[in-house]
Amino acid sequence: MEIVDFIAAIEEEFEDLNPGDVSPNSVFRDMEGWSSMHALIFVALIDSKYDVLLNGDELKSCVTIKDLFDITFLKINGGGANT
């Protein structure tokens, strides 16, 4: 699991994003037109791609795309129950 693939999946999922728009340090809540629904899209995307279901606290703890990647990576490697 590489962060470049993670970012590519995000850029593919959002119609308004082009390749290169997102970097590991991008603050996802600052993305243009951000709403709570976009957070749900992240959760659904991560679940579908990595079989990891983030919960509300985990989502709240993330600020950047790298944070999302790290917590997903941690859960894949047994660093948290998939609840």
Binding site: M37, V43, A44, D47, L53
Partner: protein
Amino acid sequence: MKRLANKFDLGSSIQYLSYYLPQLAMDNNLLAEQFVGKKAKELFDISGVKTRHVAAKGVLGSDLAISALELLQKEHPNFSLKEIDFLIVSTLVLDYNSPTTASVLHHKLGLSSACGTIDLPQGCSGFLYSLSVAEAMITAGNARNVLILLGEVPTKAIHSEDIVLRSIFGDAGAAIVVSENPTKSIGKFTFATFGDGFDFLKVERGGGRNPIDEAWIKKYSDQENQLSFGRIEMNGLEVLRFALKEIPGFLDQTLVKNGLTLSEIDFFIFHQASAMILKSLQRKCNIPEHKFISNFEDVGNTVSCSIPIALKKAAELGNLKKGNKIVLIGFGIGFSCIGTVIEW
């Protein structure tokens, strides 16, 4: 006591199905006018819905159900209400807390006094719960023709500034007749309840536990009906997590119970909860896109009416062929899940 064998032990099928949408079709342009600074495209991006229908002031779910029944009678002139010996009504906004809305509709429709009536207000699972009871009543020999009436007016329990819920939900009615049939075309049902999720999707102040009081009426005095039917509150993340966590396994259980595999199914119709949930479940359950029926963007989430509407629209488009096997999965408030397989 030995039960007599009887001709009702054969099976049941969906005989007739019609739905009704209120006249006011609120597209994203119309809805966007009510939110300062919002554009129609943003509302579509939020919800995946192009149009949702909104019932007029004073119109309740039972009224929409009757309108659907009137359409059914027009579409099937040979159908007679005299044949109905059991009525099931599913609506989240009841006419009265008591008696049942089914009793009220029994009177309005002039049904036989020998006709049984129950309410099954099971939200988005309401249609399939009603279908399971209808099927059980018929196969047990307790009824021959069951009328299921569904009517939903979620728009009356949504705060006018709640952009997400107003984008997603729409009002509708549906009428379904389930009859005894020598060829059993309704399969076995699977059920699941995750009651620990009851608080994540609910109609707040809709009942006796925490009733509407003066402060509530004052707080919502600017709303069309002071939210006097209660207010729908949804934790979108938890609803999504519930669907993603439970529905794929639940689909497998439904297939196993009916002795079928995924590849043997012609079509899948899931409760039309939200565009994102549908897309995610289709991916996660490995359902080919052409087999996954969705009309969410045309009507939004119409609660118990969503599966019947999707079924009817698919039939009208000529997509369903006789003998097709269709998986139906309902899920929602409770949290509840129900699934079955029907043969068209």
